[in-house]
Subunit: 333 residues, 2 copies
């Protein structure tokens, strides 16, 4: 098979320990021996066996990435960034989907932990702690909190707040909100931020305040379409002139529903999404949305997992409003 460290040692006329120290770079080894060993390594094309190393060190250079569904553009983007960063550091990424199923999640995490990863980046779907998750491996959760673990996430409340603020500033008063499932904290936070801005508006402009219409669904395209359709079938006089959503996917579904029903965007309806997935700037009209800095999220999560310093409890990032074509003052032609 492949040449081993023993082959190198033998051929270079040194001991295996010495070769190992050459590979470790940082140790005391004389210049000429180092040269000779390196030459030999080059000559026979030796590549250290990761398994041997991992067994000895009881630790691999693999990072577990557990997401609900890699098909979701947000998680795909996350995975891409995590993988890119990890690979420049010499780590590989093990991918697992949970499909929003707590049992599947438990199962996936369990087998992942069995592989002794260097760290775990987790987008949790449930609060079911896995045995030994707390102990052992460095774990960072992303997007959704899991009690007792470091969290990297955008300030969701602020995101919802920004969306409402933008729509109010444009002159909209009858607002709608399509929320994510209430089982997730993110949904609640985004929605609460949205409502909070409205409450503030209520106190500053008591006469103009209209209670928002809030509905709840999943984060996916379909939910946005169905709930949107349902919301838009109201009489034009009572239906919202602007709707904010908890995800870009919902927003795009909503866009679709509006199109199907002859509701023009942004003339008859303004829409603001959440996430700023790549597609957001490619739909028609381009989607005004609340951007999550995914690259930053990935960077922080990876640093948290690989870094030597203790984990902070929470890394909260600031979302930013991206103005595109799906919002306008009500009635703008």
């Amino acid at each position: 098979m492949n040449p081993t460290i023993k082959d190198v040692a033998q051929r270079a006329g040194v001991s295996v320990g010495t070769v190992s120290r050459v590979l470790a770079k940082n140790k005391t080894v004389s210049e000429d021996i180092r040269k000779k060993v390196e030459a030999t390594i080059e000559a026979i094309g030796y590549r250290p066996n990761i398994l041997g190393r991992s067994l000895r060190l009881a630790k691999t250079d693999i990072i577990g990435l557990v997401v609900p569904d890699i098909t979701n553009p947000f998680f795909a983007e996350l995975a891409k960034h995590v993988e890119m960063l990890a690979s420049t550091e010499g780590y590989s990424v093990l991918l697992a989907n949970t499909h929003d199923d707590p049992e599947a999640e438990r199962q996936q995490i369990e087998t992942l932990l069995g592989r002794l990863p260097a760290g775990l980046i987790l987008v949790p779907v449930s609060n079911s702690l896995v045995d030994g998750l707390v102990a052992g491996t460095r774990t960072v959760t992303v997007d959704r909190p899991l009690s007792g673990h470091a969290l990297v996430a955008v300030d969701n409340r602020r995101g919802g707040y920004l969306a409402a603020d933008h729509l109010l500033a444009l002159g909209h008063r009858r607002l709608g909100y399509i929320s994510g499932p209430s089982s997730t904290e993110v949904s609640g936070q985004r929605r609460d931020g949205f409502k909070q801005r409205l409450e503030e508006f209520r106190t500053t402009h008591p006469g103009e305040y209209v209670a928002p219409q809030v509905v709840e669904g999943h984060f996916d395209y379909r939910s946005g379409e169905e709930l949107g359709k349902q919301m838009l079938t109201q009489a034009a006089a009572t239906r919202p002139t602007a709707i904010a959503t908890a995800s870009d996917q919902q927003a795009i579904g909503l866009l679709r529903a509006a199109g199907d029903m002859g509701v023009r965007v942004p003339t008859d309806l303004s829409i603001v999404g959440f996430d700023d997935i790549p597609l957001a700037s490619l739909v028609l009209p381009r989607l005004t949305t609340i951007r999550q800095p995914i690259d930053e999220i990935a960077r922080l999560a990876l640093n948290g997992v690989l870094g030597s310093h203790a984990l902070q409890e929470e890394y909260k990032l600031q979302p930013v409003l991206i103005r595109r074509g799906s919002c306008a003052a009500p009635g703008t032609p």
Copy 2:
């Protein structure tokens, strides 16, 4: 740390070899000893250390998945299916992106091979064989061929053929085609299939034949939008009444360009995509497209990699035309 096989052996009063044979299930071990060992395993919560096993067997239960870009919905879908199937078989999936960069690809494959995966599923971007790729690990390529390796892919030529056929049947005569990069074989095949159908039409309807306008770009949204814009700026009398693309992403970009330019779909322009990504049925209008059976592709690729039987040279799957709203007879209101 965790209990080892030695702990089990000691506590159950047998040798480690015996415990190992109990774990392997299939060997000769007396009933009562088996029971006792299993009870002990249960009692102390023993979990075999994968690293030890892997080292001994010189083989892991990891499957490498190398794709150009996990952000591409087609590959995300592929990854999802591969991961789902793999995890039911007890395998994990290591994800790597190449970003269409041959050097990155070489690098990624190299480090992946260093991990001694049970198999490799590869969507190659170049023909640069990696040393030892041929030997050693079972490898299946998907979507794009790599000389000397098994390929699982849709019949791309037939896909292009179907697109042209559909458009001709609807009555379109001035056709456009947005191709993928000519550096990939898939692009060529799809385009050739498209052209082939037109050639056939030329022989059967010599008077009606019009040479198609073919342009070339990347597979992404942007390319579709830019090339589409360029194609649609022609006078209405000469511009295509229907355009087929080499990917749904291009088609969606094209949809966007058409919208920006006031070209109505499908009234003024019919569009047929390729792949049938989830989004295809969510854009407005819904995209008529050539579906690739990704679940089948994933299944075959995984079987090829894990199966014991010898690899076939090629597994060619049939694409199917999915009729949705983006195509109509020319001039349909």
